[in-house]
């Protein structure tokens, strides 16, 4: 006789799509109500003015709108980049480093080649260098995983630190003025190596992310590679049995993931920030992992997830300046909302039922 737990957790049958969506939408609204309660209890502020301020901070002026959507594009881009690896159940938490190494490679080209060769060449070489650097950052953990079955979580995490320390080193090499520990805006007067603007300063990253969304969707859904990734993710043994070269798929997918991450790094340095700092990626390499998982690897849901996170983040700045609340307060709200969403996923997937006490089992 063994003691049985009070709750019984079983996998649910798949809910109809409209019901699942309704539950998710409802839960987001419910989390907002809960956030409102927390706001009133902790700060005494009217929760509506906090929400209003968050929306105003994210969408209040055309500039804020532009910045918000550009930030969405960057986060979305990184989320898309990590998706193939995760779909393969390769725990790549090295996106932060893969983006940063792309920034570093771009910075190197902009500083060393700027004004020495035509601008278009600087941009092209920067792009190739960034892609190569990111691909390398993806290749190394995948190669070691495929050859010697090393732990990819630890490996990719370590690669983040390597990228950060390399960047810190080169920032000191290229710092201006001496001892300041900062590069500042690269080629501020000549704009050598800067990506051209498409209409306005926000359009280019948005366009890149939009194209990436479509391409990744097709790649994952309809290409042979995408199918192989899905099979390897489900079961490596099945994949081997079906004649898929698992090692090759792992390495190929991680090289792709790394290169896509560093593509975003290239855009960050060459098209948005025009500098390199060790914190330029700002944790988005990790946030992207959450976005990708939360969206169940669906590129279109990722758009919504990125928008939610970026809106809260952008709103946070406005909350701190106009309501005099600390920046961390909006982070607390974001945390609450995420908690609700992730908890919901559990209840959508599993059913929790109370055990009937009288019943006996084998």
């Amino acid at each position: 006789m063994h003691k049985q737990s009070l709750f019984h957790i079983s996998k649910r049958e798949a809910l109809p799509l409209h019901k699942a969506l309704l539950i998710r939408g409802g839960i987001i609204l419910l989390s907002l109500v809960f956030c409102g309660l927390v706001t009133t209890v902790l700060t005494g502020e009217n929760p509506f003015s906090v929400y209003g301020t968050i929306l105003d901070g994210a969408f209040g002026t055309s500039r804020r709108l532009g910045v918000t959507f550009r930030n969405v594009a960057i986060l979305l881009g990184i989320s898309l980049a990590v998706t193939p690896a995760f779909k393969m159940r390769f725990w790549n938490i090295g996106a932060e480093g893969q983006v940063l190494i792309g920034c570093l490679a771009t910075t190197a080209c902009m500083i060393l080649l700027g004004d020495k060769i035509p601008n278009i060449l600087v941009i092209l070489i920067s792009l190739i260098a960034a892609l190569a650097a990111g691909a390398l950052w993806g290749f190394l953990p995948a190669f070691f995983k495929a050859k010697w079955n090393t732990n990819e979580t630890l490996f990719t995490l370590m690669m983040n630190y390597v990228a950060t320390q390399l960047s810190a080193f080169f920032i000191i090499v290229w710092e201006v003025p001496k001892g300041a520990g900062k590069i500042g805006i690269i080629n501020q007067t000549t704009k050598a190596g800067w990506l051209p603007e498409l209409g306005n300063a926000y359009m280019l990253p948005i366009l890149v992310a939009a194209i990436m969304t479509g391409v990744i969707y097709i790649y994952m859904q309809y290409s042979k590679h995408g199918y192989e990734i899905a099979v390897v993710g489900e079961s490596q043994r099945t994949a081997s049995y079906a004649g898929i070269k698992v090692d090759r798929v792992i390495i190929r997918t991680m090289v792709l993931s790394g290169a896509l991450c560093s593509l975003i790094g290239f855009i960050l340095t060459s098209g948005v920030d025009h500098t390199l700092t060790t914190t330029i990626v700002d944790g988005r390499g990790f946030t992207a992992v959450m976005v990708s998982w939360m969206s169940k690897f669906n590129p279109f849901i990722m758009i919504a997830a990125s928008l939610l996170l970026v809106t809260m983040d952008r709103g946070a700045t406005e909350v701190s300046s106009s309501l005099g609340l600390n920046h961390s307060f909006a982070d607390i709200l974001t945390g609450i909302i995420l908690f609700f969403i992730i908890a919901t996923e559990f209840f959508i997937t599993y059913k929790v039922s109370l055990r009937k006490s009288g019943k006996k089992e084998g």
Binding site: L29, T53, V176, G179, G181, T277, H327
Partner: protein, 409 residues
Amino acid sequence: MKKFLALILALVMALSLVACGNDAPPADDGAADDGAAAPAVKVGFICLHDENSTYDLNFLNGAKEAIANLGLTEADYIIKTNIPEGQECYEAAMDLVDAGCNIIFANSFGHEPYMLQAAQEVPEVEFCHSTGTLAHTADVPNYHNAFASIYEGRFLAGVAAGMKLNEMIESGKITADQAKMGYVGAFTYAEVVSGYSSFYLGAKSVCPSVTMDVTFTGSWYDEALEKEGAQKLIDGKCVLISQHADSLGAPTACENAGVPNVSYNGSTQAAGPNTYIISSRINWAPYYEFAINAVKNGEAIPADWTGTLGTGSVVLTDVNESVAAPGTAEKLAEVQAALEAGTLHVYDCSTFTVKGENLTSYMADVDTDEAYTPDTEVVENGVFYESKFRSAPYFDLEIDGITRLDVAF
């Protein structure tokens, strides 16, 4: 079905709440706009951190003092805190422009290129950047730098430190040879070098046997690293600590170890009641008032502005009498008067040596460039003139008596 109904009910409730929420903000915006229409100036402030950093607290206090002195109201200024030294600074500045600000201040060195970028794009708004180096050569009429001759404040704080060392020597606590101070710096940048050199020379002016160890953290605000740095210096037999980094790390380490501390950016007596001696700081209020008034009256703001003891920009906090050596306040008043009268110079070349030799000439990198090209002779009549050719410090010599423990940053 019951469950489904409950869900729908919850949805409707939540929706109606959000709907109300959307109605609320326009009312707020309207009120803000009405307030902004009346006065001629609207001021924006951009800060790297918030009031938890002594550096930013000092700025925020200066901003609030200036706002109060000018009779401006809550609606006439916007403060943005926690703005990193990157593209975010440009976005914050442009957001302030959108909000109707016609003069914008930023407080951190790394904000400079982004402020300059914003200034180039919006010529009708004045952009004032503290601690920067580019305005005097950038040729952008609405872009300005400001700093204060804080090396004079550091020198005075150094005198207070030297007197404390003398007291320790006289009481037999240490010998004259053991009079070693420690200094926690952020970067090996001229601003920090000038700071610790003037502090050292202040101490040396009253305690000739003093030496000093300097360590760097590579960050302007890192409480753990600063505390660790101070502890390392204390373990290395430094008997008095000062710092140029912005957390309470070093003062806390000093209080824990019972080692006297000379602070910066304002009083840290609360963190170190038994070890805090005095603090020097830049009071930004005079500059803020000057620049805001200039905008109000349609006058030009100079590209490069240096506050002094005379303008009230360089100030010392009250001496903590329970820790400082007796007579410190009187001595400081005397030295300050001499500095203001110009009879005493902080970087008098006869008071220090570099590699054993007195300085007769020095070309400093005043006009910032990637190669750090020395471009301006800054020694005249036996004095290194700091903050004369540019408000931001350019004294970056390694003078004898000071040991740099690590120069990674």
